[in-house]
């Protein structure tokens, strides 16, 4: 496990490295539905840089297509 992740000094070096940094992140989240959005928000709040990728032109996934949600009939959006 340990040797699969980048060593700390390498990351620090990259952080200071200017433009190249943009291609380094902590976590890649695949899918911009409610689960992917929640994961991205949590990780970013907890101090990680997240890349969220989504195949569609907007995030929201299936939940964004729903009118209301059960059992409270809250607006899905």
């Amino acid at each position: 496990m340990e040797n699969e992740v980048l060593p700390v000094d390498k990351i620090q070096q990259l952080c200071q490295g200017g433009s190249g940094v943009s291609d380094f992140g902590d976590v890649l989240v695949v899918g911009g539905g409610v689960s992917g959005i929640q994961a991205s928000l949590d990780l970013a709040t907890a101090g990680f840089k997240v890349y969220l990728v989504e195949t569609g032109p907007s995030i929201g996934g299936n939940m964004a297509k729903l009118d209301k949600t059960f059992p409270t009939n809250d607006c899905s959006m």
Binding site: E4, C15, G25, D26, G31, G36, I37, G61, P71
Partner: protein, 854 residues
């Protein structure tokens, strides 16, 4: 046509969002972990000709129907038939389309959400038009989730609603009316034909279309359905370290599970990457705040169309024009979506350009978007409390859809009132409070231990409180799961990890006697093993579990051949031959719940029964096993085990609430047996089953201490007296009280894997708090004008947060508001006889000017 592009879309897009010059770009990104949150694909009924979908205009899927119901849908919220654009008066829903079927191209599993979303659609349909006749053709009603049973009752009790338990066939479309004829069969009436204006196919959930490609790309194992192959002890993990799965890619699931597995996946990324937390993330920097308190108010008003939500009813340009006539308004304009990123940027830019010092957003309720607009003000270098939202959507366009002129007048009124208030707004300062990085976890079962371990693995100390002598909770009595996980070795290993973790401190035989403090800075007093411990902590997780109902029904406690499912599981594990070698065993479901006293489904018992039945059959295939049920609720992938049990000869007999089974102890053939009689709804007569053993699906009930602990932590309970989460869908592991989280069966009955998922979810949410050095307290809190305070104490009694106390001052004893405890509800304001206590941001001057402008 230029270069094969007609360009029309670019011309009509008001947001200027279309850019033909963009080309795909490939980027290589290096990351430390991956979360696959790829979701589901709704089942496509086109693949099965017999559903008529695509062939008959008035057959739609449930996803299509969601769009028909929605105000942003194709008919702006009117439910219309595709064939003639008329309102359907008779609608049928067909359940289990694509699910619970062994036919080629469909799924054997239960999709778990369709029963309840159909009930939602029925309720919403009736809200649109109470005269619509709604018919639901269903198999079992799987109302297994929290508050689902009541929701089903609500749908079922609506007039003009029929729930019919029957398989159906879509027979034909009538050429003239384009109505659809459905054939179905009931026990009493045999095969019938009926005509419907519209048919909704309640389609199930498929794995994502490209699941094979995904699995190959990431090297993860899938199950035969195409979902991630769950690791029993941790369904968020995959066979590839560092690659996690959240949401419905774990298997068909509802939104709350998608949300807490996302937080759980976040927690597991945090365990892996804690050492680099904060190293790549950039802190947000706001421009310096401009002091405008001595300036004359210069108010900017932004009126939002909200797509068509507001502008289809309210005349937005007229409202803008009107706003410009109001005193102190120096600028006003309309926006398509004020909440869009480009609109926020526009507000920021205009505030600077026009020298605006107060902003009114005429849009929606402040509940959701006020933080966003406050943020916009900060970006503009203004104090964020110089913002007011005029709610012309919920309070106007949504409730006056048919009175457009009056609605426009009302929108103007609301804007005028908001502008009047805004003139008096004051800049307020928020302040940062330090966060104690330590967590308190209450309950040492699987939920509590899993959460504690995940928090500790992310570098935080955890105090784990267990009421018993040993860790393990209810899981100590469980031996296998239906999926075949061996519970005891897992439990032993988890307990070992907890004791081995230097950051986790366990208190045994512990009882919490007092809790005080506030977000990020709590304190609890715990009596444990003869001493009293004071624990300071920043966040708490309540994972106190649930209890097993002690039945008073079916001779339980009187006859030693009557057990609960939990006990039978223990007897099987212990090899008790009276159970494992029995000739005949009857299980009775729904004992102590789904009744008047406990109006909920205990969720786990159907799978529990099937699990025990499969074990017993594996031991002794010739054993006669009967499961007497009301609805079999083996939701999700557990459906496969239900089918296995039926194939192995387990007999399932359905009964109804008003005619329940009866059990009597009799002597037959020289031995003591239990005679179970149950009505057979198909044959229409009473069956008598002679059983050696009877096993009862005893309800899961809230733990005895639930109410007491809820009181101490100031958290709410649901109607069924389990813990009540902040939001059933979007905040499934937090309480409304800040800094307190929940997981496991204390929230609602759930299976071990669901508990593990939720426990990681709670850990993830806790870390979003504990990884911060500080939390921000609101500026909108109460303040006492000491000169006016007469020390009557009325405010102290009114405050539910213990935020006010007496303090000795130069002017004598006066009320004092602890700014970190005050939640700004203003109750104290109403009680104060001398108006000495005021709620900032809602001062008399602000509110009275708003009222006077009405």
């Amino acid at each position: 046509m230029k270069e094969d592009k007609c360009d029309i879309c670019r011309g009509v897009c008001q947001a200027d969002a279309i850019d033909f010059r963009q080309t795909p770009k490939k980027r290589d990104i290096n990351v430390g972990a991956v979360i696959l949150a790829v979701g589901i694909e709704p089942f496509d009924p086109k693949t099965k000709d017999e559903y008529g979908y695509g062939r008959m205009e008035n057959v739609v899927t449930s996803m299509d129907y969601e769009r028909l119901l929605s105000s942003t849908g194709p008919f702006a919220g009117e439910v219309l038939r595709l064939s003639d654009k008329k309102h359907p008066k008779k609608i049928a829903w067909i359940q289990c389309v694509g699910s619970r079927r062994l036919t080629e191209g469909e799924n054997s599993y239960c999709s778990g959400v369709c029963c309840t979303y159909t009930q939602k659609q029925v309720i919403l349909t009736k809200g649109h038009d109470a005269d619509v006749d709604c018919t639901i053709f269903h198999n079992d009603i799987r109302a297994f989730g929290k508050d689902f049973e009541r929701y089903f009752q609500r749908a079922e009790e609506l007039p003009g609603t029929r729930f019919i338990r029957s398989y159906v066939a879509i027979d034909r479309e009538l050429p003239e009316s384009k109505n659809v004829v459905i054939k179905y069969a009931t026990n009493d009436a045999g095969v019938k034909e009926e005509e419907f204006d519209l048919v909704v196919l309640s389609v199930g959930l498929n794995p994502p279309e490209n699941f094979r490609e995904l699995a190959d790309k990431f090297g993860i194992d899938l199950n035969h359905h195409g979902f991630s192959r769950a690791i029993h002890s941790n369904p968020i993990a995959t066979n590839q370290p560092g690659i996690f799965v959240s949401g419905a890619f774990q298997g068909p699931t509802d939104i709350p599970e998608s949300v807490f597995t996302a937080s759980g996946a976040g927690a597991q990324c945090g365990e892996l990457l804690d050492y680099r937390r904060g190293k790549l993330a950039n802190e947000r920097v706001y421009p310096e705040e401009r002091d405008v308190s001595f300036e004359e108010p210069r108010i900017g008003v932004f009126v939002c169309h909200c797509g068509a939500n507001i502008s289809s009813v309210v005349n937005v340009p007229a409202t803008v024009e009107y706003a410009l006539t109001l005193p102190n308004v120096v600028y006003a304009q309309e926006q398509l979506f004020s909440c869009a990123t480009n609109s926020a940027q526009q507000i920021t830019d205009l505030a600077k350009e026009k020298g605006l010092n107060r902003i009114v957003i005429a849009a929606c309720s402040p509940r959701t978007l006020e933080p966003l607009f406050r943020d916009t003000l900060r970006e503009a270098g203004l104090n964020q409390y110089y913002c007011d939202m005029a709610n012309i959507r919920e309070h106007c366009s949504w409730v006056h859809t048919k009175q457009k002129e009056d609605a426009t007048r009302k929108a103007k009124d609301i804007v005028r009132m908001s502008v009047a208030r805004t003139r008096y707004l004051e800049p307020l300062q928020e302040f940062d409070l330090p966060v104690n990085p330590r967590a308190l976890v209450v309950g040492g079962g699987i939920a509590g231990m899993t959460t504690a371990l995940s928090i500790a693995e992310q570098g935080h100390e955890v105090e784990l409180i267990e009421k018993n002598n040993d860790l393990g909770g209810m899981a100590r009595r469980l031996h296998t799961t239906i999926e075949g996980m061996e519970v005891q070795p897992f439990l032993k290993e988890t307990i070992r990890k907890v004791y081995a973790n230097p950051l986790i401190h366990v208190s045994h035989n512990a009882k919490i006697t007092d809790v005080s403090g506030f977000l990020g800075n709590f304190s609890a007093t715990v009596a444990t093993e003869g001493r009293v411990k004071k624990i300071e902590y920043g966040a708490a997780v309540l994972a106190i579990g649930a209890d097993e109902y002690q039945p008073s029904e079916y001779l339980y406690g009187e006859n030693d051949k009557v057990f609960t499912h939990l006990e039978i599981g223990e007897e099987i594990a212990a090899g008790n031959e009276a159970v494992t070698r029995a000739d005949s065993l009857v299980m009775i479901q729904c004992v102590g719940c789904r009744n008047e006293e406990r109006n909920y489904c205990s969720r786990v018992c159907c799978s529990h029964a099937v699990k025990n039945a499969l074990k017993l059959k594996a031991n002794k295939p010739e054993m006669e096993i009967y499961i007497l049920f009301r609805d079999m609720r083996t939701y999700g992938l557990r459906e496969d085990y239900y089918r296995d049990a039926a194939e192995m000869g387990v007999k399932f007999i359905r009964f109804e609430m008003d005619d329940q089974p009866q059990v009597e102890a009799v002597k037959a053939g020289g031995k003591d047996i239990l005679r179970v009689s149950v009505p057979d709804l198909i044959l229409g007569k009473r069956l008598e089953l002679d059983a050696d053993i009877v096993s009862l699906a005893a309800a899961v009930v809230p733990a005895a201490a639930t109410a007491e602990i809820a009181g101490m932590f100031k958290v709410a309970l649901s109607p069924d007296e389990f813990f009540k989460e902040a939001h059933v869908k979007l905040k499934p592991v937090e309480f409304a009280a800040d800094g307190v989280y929940l997981c496991g069966t204390a929230h609602y009955p759930k299976h071990i894997q669901e508990t593990i998922n939720q426990a990681y979810g709670a850990a993830g949410r806790v870390l979003t708090l504990l990884s911060q050095d500080t939390v921000t307290a609101s500026g909108s809190i109460c303040e006492v004008h000491e000169d006016d305070c007469v020390s009557c104490g009325a405010c102290i009694t009114a405050c539910s947060y213990d935020a006010i106390e007496f303090k000795q001052t130069d002017k004598g004893r006066k009320a004092w508001v602890n700014p970190v405890l005050c939640k700004g509800d203003g109750l104290c304001n109403a009680k104060c006889p001398t108006n000495a206590i005021v709620l900032k941001h809602f001062t008399d001057a602000e509110l009275l000017s708003q009222i006077d402008a009405a």
